[in-house]
C-alpha cells in the first residue's frame, strides 16, 4: 500500500473579513472550509464538486501551497504544501480554467521553453514531452501564435499541455471545461481519458459539468458551505438523493399523454403528444422497460435520455440535509 497522494485531516480555512470604515470597522470570520477529511490514492480520478463559493478553490489553494490552512493538516505528494511549495511545484500540475498561467503575449512554443527552463527539463526531455503533448492535444497549428490571439478552447489545451510538461504525478484542474463548446469539451475529455489510461497521473478536477464527472472521474467529493457533503461514486450519489433520469420520446403520431407508464412521472407533453418527457428514478425501472412500455402505445421515432443535472443532484443533496 503506497502513501496516498493527497491526505487531508480536519482541514479548515477561515478568512477574516473587514467591513466598514474607520471606527465602525468590524472584523468577522468567514469559514470557507471546515473539517475536511479525505485521502486520494495515486492513480485515482476524483471530481470535486460544489456550488460557487462552497470552498472548492480554497481547498485547491491549500492542496497546492498557495494558501495555508487555519485548521487541520494536508499533505500533497507526502509534502506539507506551503512549507515545501517549490518541491511540490515540481511534482504537480495545475490548471485554472478562468485564469491563465501562460504568458499572454508569447506563443505557446516560447512559453514551453520558459517552463522547461523553470522545471529544469533537459532539451531532449523537452523535445519528446512537447512532441507528445502537441500531437495529442493537437496544438501544432497554433504553436507559434501569441496566447492572447488563441480561442478559449485552444488556450485551455495549451494550458493543460503547460501543466503536464514536467510530467507531474498529480494534475489538478479547476473548471477546465468552463465556457468551452461541445466539440472542444469532448476533445479535452478524450485527451484526459487517454492520459489517465496511459500513465499513473492522479486527477483531481472541479467542475459544474455532469458529463465531465461522469466521463472522467471514478469518485466524487461534494462540498457544501466548506463541509464535506458526500464522498463516493456518482451512481451512489444519484441513488442516495434519488435523482431522476428523463427519457424524451418523439412519436410518429399524436398520442394521448403517457401518464401511466409504470415507474415514471410524466413531465410534459409537446406538439399534441408528438414529444413527451418521462422522468424515472434509476432502480425503480429501466430505460428499456420504459421504452418497451411506450412502444406498445405508439411508434417511437427517436428518443434521448437526459442524465440528472449535477446542480440538481447537489441541490437535492443539500436539501436532504446530509
Amino acid at each position: 500500500m503506497t502513501e496516498p497522494i493527497i491526505s487531508a485531516t480536519g482541514l479548515g480555512r477561515d478568512f477574516v473579513i473587514r467591513t466598514g470604515r474607520g471606527l465602525r470597522r468590524r472584523r468577522s470570520i468567514t469559514r470557507a472550509v471546515a473539517d475536511l477529511d479525505f485521502t486520494i490514492e495515486a492513480g485515482a480520478a476524483v471530481g470535486y464538486i460544489g456550488a460557487n463559493g462552497a470552498g472548492k478553490s480554497t481547498t485547491i489553494k491549500m492542496l497546492t501551497g498557495i494558501l495555508v490552512p487555519t485548521a487541520g493538516r494536508v499533505h500533497t505528494c507526502g509534502l506539507d504544501p506551503h512549507r515545501h511549495r517549490r518541491e511540490l511545484a515540481r511534482r504537480i500540475g495545475v490548471v485554472f480554467g478562468q485564469r491563465s498561467q501562460l504568458w499572454w503575449d508569447l506563443p505557446l512554443a516560447e512559453s514551453y521553453r520558459a517552463l522547461a527552463a523553470i522545471h529544469r527539463l533537459g532539451p531532449d526531455t523537452l523535445r519528446t514531452r512537447r512532441g507528445t503533448l502537441v500531437e495529442r492535444l493537437d496544438l501544432g497549428e497554433f504553436l507559434e501564435t501569441p496566447v492572447r490571439q488563441l480561442s478559449l478552447g485552444q488556450r485551455i489545451r495549451g494550458e493543460i499541455a503547460a501543466a503536464l510538461l514536467h510530467s507531474p504525478e498529480l494534475l489538478i484542474l479547476d473548471e477546465p471545461t468552463i465556457g468551452l463548446d461541445v466539440l472542444s469539451k469532448e476533445r479535452l475529455r478524450q485527451f484526459l481519458l487517454e492520459e489517465r489510461a496511459a500513465g499513473d497521473t492522479t486527477l483531481l478536477l472541479t467542475t459544474h459539468d455532469m458529463d465531465d464527472v461522469q466521463r472522467l472521474t471514478d469518485r466524487i467529493i461534494v462540498v457544501d458551505h466548506g463541509r464535506m457533503a458526500y464522498d463516493g461514486t456518482l451512481p451512489g450519489l444519484v441513488e442516495r438523493v434519488g435523482a431522476d433520469r428523463v427519457i424524451v420520446v418523439d412519436l410518429e403520431e399524436t398520442t394521448a399523454p403517457l401518464a401511466d407508464v409504470a415507474g415514471t412521472r410524466l413531465l410534459g407533453v409537446e406538439a399534441d403528444g408528438l414529444r413527451q418527457r418521462l422522468a424515472f428514478t434509476p432502480g425503480s425501472t429501466t430505460a428499456a422497460a420504459v421504452l418497451a412500455h411506450v412502444s406498445a402505445r405508439a411508434e417511437v421515432r427517436d428518443l434521448t435520455i437526459e442524465e440528472p443535472d449535477i446542480e440538481d443532484v447537489v441541490r437535492r443533496l443539500y436539501a436532504s440535509g446530509t
Partner: protein, 267 residues
C-alpha cells in the same frame, strides 16, 4: 550558478523578445522615455535660469546630482519598476501562478518584466553625466573615480529596494499604489535635488529612512568636496553600500511578511 540562473535567463529573454516583436511601438515608447528625461532636465535648467546656487550646488553640481539620480532610478525602474503594480498581479491571479512554480516568488516577479524603454531616460541621464563631469572641477583621486563609477550602480540598487518595499506594502494596502509611489517616485524626486534644501526632518527622512540621499546627493558632495549640512555630512557619501544593504534587508523582510500575509501563513 549558471544552473540556478537559467530559468530567469529564459524568462527575461522571452520578455525581451515580446517587446522587440512590436518594433514601432517599442521605438515610440523609447522616444517617450527620452522625452520624460529631457523634461526633467529642463526643470533643473529652468530653476537655475533664475538662481545660481541651490542648496550648496551650482548648475554644474546640480547636473551631476541629476545624472546620478536619473541613471540610478531609470535602471531600477527598468529592472524592477513593475513590482509596485502588485495589486494587478494579485487580481489577475498571476501571483498564484508564480506560487505554483518551483522558484521564489519575488525573483519571478522581478524577472516577469524588463521595460527596456526606460533606457531612454538612462541615456539622457548618462549624457548629462558626461557633461556634468567635464563642467565640474573635481580633484580626482583613485578613490573618487571608484565612487563616481559605483554611485549610479548603488543608486540603482537602492531605488530597486524602494520598489520592493513599495510592493511589500501593497499586500496589505491593496489600493496602496499612491502611498507606495510616495516612496519610489517621491524618493526619486527628492534625490534629484540637493537634500539640503529640505527642512531637517525631511532631510533625515530622505537620508536615514528612505535612503534617497545616498543615491546621488551625498556622493556628489564628496566628489565636489563640499562639507554637507548638519546631520547629513558629506562623509556619508561613502556609505551608499551600507544604505543599500540596510534598505534591501528592510525590503526583503517586508516582502516576506507581505507574502506570508497573502498566503495566510501569519505575519
Amino acid at each position: 550558478m549558471g544552473e540556478v540562473l537559467a530559468p530567469y535567463r529564459a524568462l527575461l529573454a522571452s520578455r525581451l523578445r515580446s517587446q522587440l516583436a512590436y518594433r514601432r511601438s517599442f521605438v515610440l515608447d523609447l522616444i517617450g522615455a527620452v522625452g520624460i528625461g529631457v523634461l526633467e532636465l529642463a526643470e533643473v535648467l529652468v530653476i537655475f535660469s533664475s538662481i545660481t546656487v541651490l542648496g550648496e550646488l551650482d548648475l554644474a553640481g546640480a547636473l551631476l546630482l541629476f545624472a546620478f539620480a536619473g541613471i540610478g532610478f531609470s535602471l531600477a525602474d527598468m529592472a524592477v519598476g513593475h513590482v509596485d503594480s502588485l495589486p494587478r498581479y494579485l487580481r489577475s491571479g498571476t501571483l498564484d501562478a508564480f506560487l505554483l512554480r518551483p522558484l521564489p516568488v519575488l525573483a519571478q516577479l522581478i524577472t516577469s518584466d524588463l521595460q527596456l524603454r526606460r533606457l531612454g531616460r538612462t541615456a539622457v541621464a548618462a549624457v548629462v553625466l558626461v557633461i556634468a563631469l567635464s563642467m565640474n572641477t573635481i580633484a580626482w583621486t583613485p578613490a573618487l573615480v571608484v565612487l563616481a563609477v559605483l554611485t549610479p550602480l548603488f543608486s540603482a540598487i537602492i531605488f530597486a529596494a524602494l520598489f520592493v518595499c513599495a510592493a511589500g506594502v501593497q499586500f496589505w494596502l491593496v489600493e496602496g499604489g499612491e502611498f507606495a509611489n510616495a516612496f519610489t517616485y517621491g524618493g526619486s524626486y527628492a534625490a534629484s535635488y540637493p537634500t539640503s534644501i529640505f527642512s531637517l526632518p525631511m532631510r533625515v527622512l530622505f537620508t536615514f529612512v528612505v535612503p534617497a540621499a545616498f543615491t546621488a546627493y551625498l556622493p556628489t558632495l564628496v566628489l565636489l568636496g563640499h562639507a554637507g549640512p548638519a546631520w547629513t555630512p558629506a562623509v556619508l557619501g561613502w556609505f551608499a553600500p551600507v544604505a543599500a544593504a540596510g534598505i534591501w534587508t528592510v525590503a526583503l523582510l517586508g516582502w516576506r511578511a507581505g507574502l506570508r500575509h497573502y498566503t495566510g501563513a501569519g505575519s
